[in-house]
Each structure stands twice: as structure tokens, then as C-alpha cells.
Symmetry: C2
Subunit: 142 residues, 2 copies
């Protein structure tokens, strides 16, 4: 199938189960940027059964929680677009007021150079982020 | 509170209950563009209780279903950004391959003039879209 996300690409895998995987998006501008990718091929959320939608959103919300804890964002951005790669995946992005595009979405033209690295944002390793996701996804939603 | 979405603005209301409302986004380029807006003020999905997250996503998915039925899109785009207005709201957008930005997100620079009106896309009145949403939201998720 001619879909790059069916093949498993997309960046270092932080967490996965039999249903979906969470990767860290390769990005020079955004250290706190994860993608949640459905393992099997589907295009739209409403192509999933309601329980599957909820399961995928639980992974999205775990990413949001982990990014809020580890990157102290000014805002979280969530998006499922897929116009280029119509395989269900969610972008979960920690945004800061001094990032390259704020307050625009990251798909707009940049407004400024990327903010200088801050320890808080950039010392978060894949292993640390993955461990936090595993902890969040191991516990039932509160 | 200095938040434009707390005041109820945002376009014609298609459906509402005590928890959220669905408005049609005023847009010259996108006839099939709804916003789901939480009534009370909250910034992020993870500021909501899990049952509230699910309730808001059910409204988002009802919009997706209605837009797929009525606008025959090539792709649905879902996004919760809120960098400018940090009050929880979801964009639900029916995208077509000949729309102004495709395959880019609608927040990128336009690639072309808007597609000429098509009856399928533009004859969908607020009343018709609202009636479909009401029907979808009245039935439990299948």
C-alpha cells in the first residue's frame, strides 16, 4: 500500500501497542512534538468504531499530558489533518509564545527564528518522554 | 473574562446543549467548516475530566460525519489550536483537492484561488447542517 505511515516510518518510536504508536516528530523548531499514528490503515476518525476512536484519543491525551509536564508549554496544539498522508495520525505539539510560528499554527509561514534552546525544552530525551507516556498509558483515565 | 469564545461569538449556531455548541465558521473558502466550542472556559483537553473529553469529541465526530455526508470531502481536517483564543474549540473542516490550500492546512499560504462553487458544497444551508447534527447527536454512538 502506498502510504508512508503503513510502513512504520515517522521518527523515533516512544511508545507502541497493537493499536497505535507514538513517535517523536523530527523537528528543528519543536522539541515537544509527538505524533500518534494508527497502526492499521484508516483515513478518518469516523472510519473507526467509537471504542477505537476513544482509544486513539486516549493516546493523544497522554501525549498532551506528558508534553505539558515536560515542556511547560503556553498552549497545546492538536491536529489530525492527513491531506498529504491520508493515514490516521495526530500531531500533538507543545507551543511556546517565542516559538517560530506562535501564535500561528506551525503550518503557517514562520514569524521569527526558532527560540534559543532552553534546557527545559531540549533536555527531554526520547527515553524520558517515552517513559512518561508508558506510565500515563498504563493507568486508566482518572 | 477577556475571551471572545466565552461571549458566544463565532458564527451561526448550528446545534448546542449545556456543554458545548457547534457553529458554522464564517469562511469564504470553506463552506464545510464547523467549530465545536466548549461553553465554559477551559484551555486544554486535559483540563477536562475524561468523560467531558469524550463528550466534546463526540460533538467533533458528529461534525465530521455530517460534513462527510453533505460535502463529499477528499479529507477531513480536525484541529484544536487556540493560540490566539485559548478557550477550547475544535475546527472541523471538509477539504477538497481543489480548495484554496490543499494539500496544505488551511493556515498555510493559499496555493490557488478558491474552487468555483459547486452545488454539492454550497447549497448546504445552516438549517440542513444543523438538522443533521441534531440527528447524529441524538443517537448514541453505534
Amino acid at each position: 500500500m502506498d502510504c508512508e505511515f503503513c510502513g512504520g516510518d515517522g521518527g523515533p518510536v516512544l511508545w507502541r501497542d497493537g493499536f497505535c504508536r507514538i513517535v517523536r516528530a523530527p523537528s528543528q523548531d519543536y522539541a515537544g512534538f509527538c505524533r500518534v499514528i494508527l497502526n492499521r490503515h484508516a483515513r478518518e476518525m469516523t472510519d473507526l468504531a467509537p471504542a477505537e476512536r476513544a482509544r486513539l484519543m486516549d493516546a493523544v491525551f497522554a501525549c498532551e499530558s506528558a508534553l505539558r509536564e515536560l515542556f511547560d508549554p503556553d498552549k497545546i496544539n492538536l491536529a489530525s489533518l492527513g491531506n498529504l498522508v491520508p493515514h490516521l495520525h495526530w500531531h500533538v505539539i507543545a507551543r511556546h509564545a517565542d516559538d517560530a510560528h506562535f501564535p500561528d499554527p506551525i503550518w503557517a509561514a514562520p514569524r521569527r527564528a526558532s527560540a534559543p534552546p532552553r534546557a527545559l525544552r531540549n533536555d527531554v530525551s526520547d527515553a524520558r518522554l517515552g517513559a512518561r507516556l508508558a506510565a500515563l498509558l498504563a493507568q486508566p483515565a482518572a
